[in-house]
Symmetry: C2
Subunit: 122 residues, 2 copies
DNA sequence: AAAGATTGACTTCTCAATCTTA
DNA sequence: TAAGATTGAGAAGTCAATCTTT
C-alpha cells in the first residue's frame, strides 16, 4: 500500500482515501451516499470524513445535498468531474497494483494470499 | 496493524513508531544509534524522526549525545526508563499480535503468509 | 437519550528550506 | 557539492464537545 500510494503521489494524485470515496459514490444508485454509509464501506472515521468531504467538495468532485428522509443527514453526490477523476485515478492505480503485486505473485499465490489475509479480518 | 494499534492505544500506550525506535535502540550496541541508522531500520522518514525523537526525549525515554566520529550527526541513546517502556509495551503488543494474528492462523498458514508477503517487498 | 454530522483545539505529518560539517 | 539533521509553515489527523433531528 505504501508503494502504491507513493506511485500515485508521484503522478500528482491525491491520497487513496479520495479514490475510495469516489469509487463507492460512482457505484452507488444515483451516484450518492450518506456520510454514514461512506464511513461503513471505506473505513474512514466519521470525524475524518467531514473534512475529507470538504476537500472533495472544494475541488468540485462531490456536492452535498439535503436529505428528505432524514433531516439530520445529507446526501453526498458525485459530480461528473468526480467521476472523471475516479476513472483517471484508476488507470494509474491499476498500473501500480500490477507493478507492486501482480508482477510478484501468480494467480495461485494471489488466491492463497487473499484467503490467508481474509482470515485475519473480523 | 490497525487492530493492534487500537489495542495498544486503548491500553494507554503511544503509537507503534515509538516502540519500533525503542526496540532498535535496546538491541543496538551500547543502546545507541544515529538518527540516520534509525531511519533505515524503522522506515520512519527523516523529517518525522527529528520530532519523534523530540517526543521520546521529552518523555525521558532517550537522550541525544554528541557524536565524536562525525560532528554533523549525534547519538540517540536509550535510557533505563526507555528500556523499561519498551519491555512494558512488548507485553501488551505480544498479546495483541496473538489475538489478531496468532489465534487466526496455525504455524503452517503463518509461514505461508510470511513467504507470500515477503515476495512483495523490494 | 441516541444518531448523524460538524467543529474547535491540539497534535502529528509533510514538503521545502535551512544550517552545519564532510 | 553532498550528507546529517532540524525547522517553519501549512495540511491532515485526532479527540472531545457541540448542534440538530429522531
Amino acid at each position: 500500500m505504501t508503494s502504491i500510494e507513493a506511485d500515485l503521489k508521484a503522478a500528482g494524485f491525491p491520497p487513496l482515501a479520495w479514490y475510495d470515496v469516489l469509487l463507492e459514490l460512482s457505484r452507488a444508485p444515483d451516484g450518492r451516499l450518506r456520510p454514514v454509509e461512506i464511513e461503513k464501506v471505506t473505513l474512514v472515521a466519521q470525524y475524518n470524513l467531514s473534512r475529507l468531504l470538504d476537500r472533495l467538495e472544494k475541488e468540485g468532485l462531490v456536492v452535498r445535498a439535503p436529505c428528505a428522509d432524514d433531516a439530520r443527514g445529507q446526501w453526498v453526490v458525485i459530480t461528473e468531474k468526480g467521476r472523471a477523476a475516479q476513472a483517471r485515478t484508476w488507470k494509474v492505480y491499476a498500473k501500480a497494483i500490477q507493478k507492486h503485486v501482480g508482477e510478484k505473485l501468480d494467480d495461485k499465490a494471489a488466491a492463497t494470499l487473499a484467503e490467508l489475509l481474509g482470515r485475519l479480518t473480523d
